[in-house]
């Protein structure tokens, strides 16, 4: 660790991992509810478990992004953080707000929660992924603005690099597009349209910039390749991401009541969306392949390579699978979408956050890399989680194809619930793959506590 203030990243990383564990536990609960409908009912109904599962994902990734920024920016800018104190305050505010929101979901009926938190003043609740009560949404904006102030001031007073500028662009975009969550028009078509401005332009727009910046930072550190070479790749990747991703939003506009031309625009541009992910895969492998020395932190290198491959498969290949309008006409909202969502989020965002944690945590703990034993365990966790996620995706895809056929293609189409009964075998297999994923996650946690001979930081 080159700058003292980088230490503030550690609590963010710890919180991120803790919430990740919570997310997977609720994922397992939901997976069980798919096959045993009244599992944990009425204590944790399916809709609540789903809300907690997806909201925890968003919150822990945000913790991960913030931790990454606090770690990376001082090093990139070659200066201490503008205010370490502010970063600490924001950590506790965000953690408290997140915890209270999740507890609210779990212990207060959603309608009562809406009433209690002023949803009648400005109705923003009740929309998928944006279920947060109004005070939480305002809290997110306040935390995001204060965080951006801190990071931007740090960049402004220090060295400006392509990585820090791309990271800033992504983080500012994240905050700005979240503002659309406050706009909730009565017209359902317009409501959906602006809802996608948050959801799509986050994950298929500005978050990709954050992903690319994080990956570039780690690759410079672990390969020793010239910054100029990596920065050229970074420019290409973010250009591709923005050119394809922004108009690619149109693939969500096919069937919500927008004009028909969106079927063309959405299909063409989103068919190109795998290209930046493909470039990221080439980028990661290219940089690691050309390095001249082995970095002691092999686990971080593995996570970086895994990010490239899994992001391409999950976001790129599985996204393309159902993105063309004539295909999406049949597959829309089926388990194929769930398959894509799981692998894309894991491959692109979960893995890149773990990459930066894997690289930064040993340094934050005063060593260049963890002991060989700890790294072996961490690499085991990589394979367990990644292979489990591949199987989760395959089982959901199989369930989705069967569902589409039985429910939408067949000459004698079944009702939704009747079709669900026919794919239950795949849901069981998905649940078991989920258990393996959870074991992988516990292995990952255990790797932090394994002792052994560590590698010292070179001076």
């Amino acid at each position: 660790m080159q700058y003292k203030s980088q230490a503030v990243a550690m609590p963010y990383f710890i919180a991120a991992i803790g919430l990740f564990v919570g997310q997977i536990i609720f994922g397992l609960i939901m997976g069980m509810q798919y096959v045993v409908g009244d599992f944990l009912f009425p204590e944790i109904p399916f809709n609540v478990a789903r809300m907690v599962h997806t909201n925890l994902l968003i919150v822990w990734l945000l913790f991960g992004f913030m931790g990454a920024a606090y770690y990376m920016v001082p090093e990139e800018s070659e200066t201490e953080l503008y205010s370490t104190k502010l970063a600490w305050i924001l950590f506790w505010v965000f953690l408290a707000a997140g915890a209270l929101t999740i507890l609210g979901y779990l212990f207060v009926p959603y309608a009562t929660l809406a009433e209690m938190t002023g949803n009648d003043l400005l109705a923003t609740m009740g929309r998928e992924f944006l279920e947060q009560p109004l005070p939480t949404k305002i809290g997110i904006v306040v935390v995001a603005l204060a965080f951006l102030f801190n990071i931007t001031m740090t960049v402004l007073k220090g060295r400006k690099t392509a990585i820090s500028v791309v990271l800033l662009l992504g983080l500012w975009g994240l905050a700005i597009f979240f503002l659309f969550s406050f706009y909730n028009p009565h017209n359902l078509v317009r409501d959906k349209l602006y809802w996608w401005f948050v959801v799509h332009l986050w994950v298929e727009g500005v978050w990709e910039l954050i992903l690319a910046a994080l990956l570039a930072f780690v690759l410079i550190k672990v390969t020793g390749v010239d910054r100029e070479v990596i920065e050229k790749w970074l420019y290409v990747i973010i250009t591709l991401a923005l050119v394809t991703g922004i108009i690619g939003t149109g693939h969500h506009f096919f069937w919500i009541g927008t004009p028909e031309y969106w079927q063309w625009w959405g299909s063409i541009f989103s068919a190109l969306e795998p290209v930046p992910f493909f470039a990221m895969t080439v980028f990661a492998f290219n940089m690691v392949n050309r390095r001249k020395r082995e970095h002691p932190n092999k686990a971080a290198v593995l996570w970086a390579l895994g990010t490239g491959v899994m992001a391409f498969l999950g976001a790129g290949v599985w996204g393309f699978l159902h993105t063309l309008a004539p295909v999406n006409y049949y597959t829309h909202g089926s388990q194929i979408t769930a398959a894509h969502g799981h692998m894309a989020f894991y491959g692109a965002y979960v893995m890149v956050v773990i990459t930066i944690i894997s690289y930064a945590m040993p340094l934050l703990r005063g060593r260049a890399a963890n002991s060989e034993k700890a790294q072996v365990l961490e690499m085991w966790s990589f394979w367990l989680m990644t292979i489990a996620m591949v199987f989760i995706t395959l089982f959901l895809t199989a369930a989705g194809i069967l569902q589409v056929w039985l429910q939408r293609v067949s000459d004698t189409p079944m009702s939704f619930m009747a079709a669900q009964d026919q794919v239950v075998l795949f849901y069981w297999m998905r649940e078991w793959a989920g258990v393996v994923f959870f074991i992988g996650l516990l292995t990952y946690l255990a790797s932090f506590f394994v002792k052994g001979e560590t590698k010292a930081v070179a001076n």
């Binding site: 010239d226 080439v282 492998f285 392949n289 498969l313 199989a398 194809i401 056929w405 067949s410």
Partner: protein, 135 residues
């Protein structure tokens, strides 16, 4: 014959351009212009198959042979799944789509490795179907 290669830590593309083009065409054939990119690749191989740089020969031969084998297995097994299982059978679709996506994505990922090796001026052999010798 000894050939000087650029330093991979300092140059964006230290490998020979022809090798990179061959691997790029392999990927374009899989992702953007199936058939057309393959024909261009074959034309390139016919013209430069005896190139003095062994690296160029290696990548040209690997990509052409893998294109033929990979494409053959991708198409023939997919067709077989649907013909044997029947288009009206949902299980044909489950197995057929999963097979196609996995095999296709697998070829792309191998192509990425080939492209990276070409960019960095290194030889590459596609697993299983890639020829052992380059001439």
């Amino acid at each position: 014959m000894s050939l000087e290669r650029k330093d991979p830590l300092k140059h964006l593309m230290p490998g020979p351009p022809l090798a990179v083009i061959a691997e790029a065409l392999f990927l374009i054939n899989l992702m953007l212009l199936p058939g057309i990119a393959f024909l261009v690749l074959v034309a390139l191989w016919l013209r430069h198959g005896d190139h003095p740089d062994p690296l160029v020969r290696n990548h040209l031969r690997q990509t052409v042979v893998t294109c033929i084998w990979g494409g053959g297995l991708l198409v023939s097994i997919s067709v077989a799944i649907f013909v044997l299982g029947g288009f009206d059978n949902p299980w044909s679709w489950v197995i057929g789509v999963l097979y196609f996506v996995l095999f296709h994505a697998g070829l792309i990922l191998l192509g990425v490795l080939g492209l990276v090796r070409a960019i960095n001026g290194r030889t590459w052999r596609y697993p299983l179907v890639g020829p052992r010798r380059d001439d």
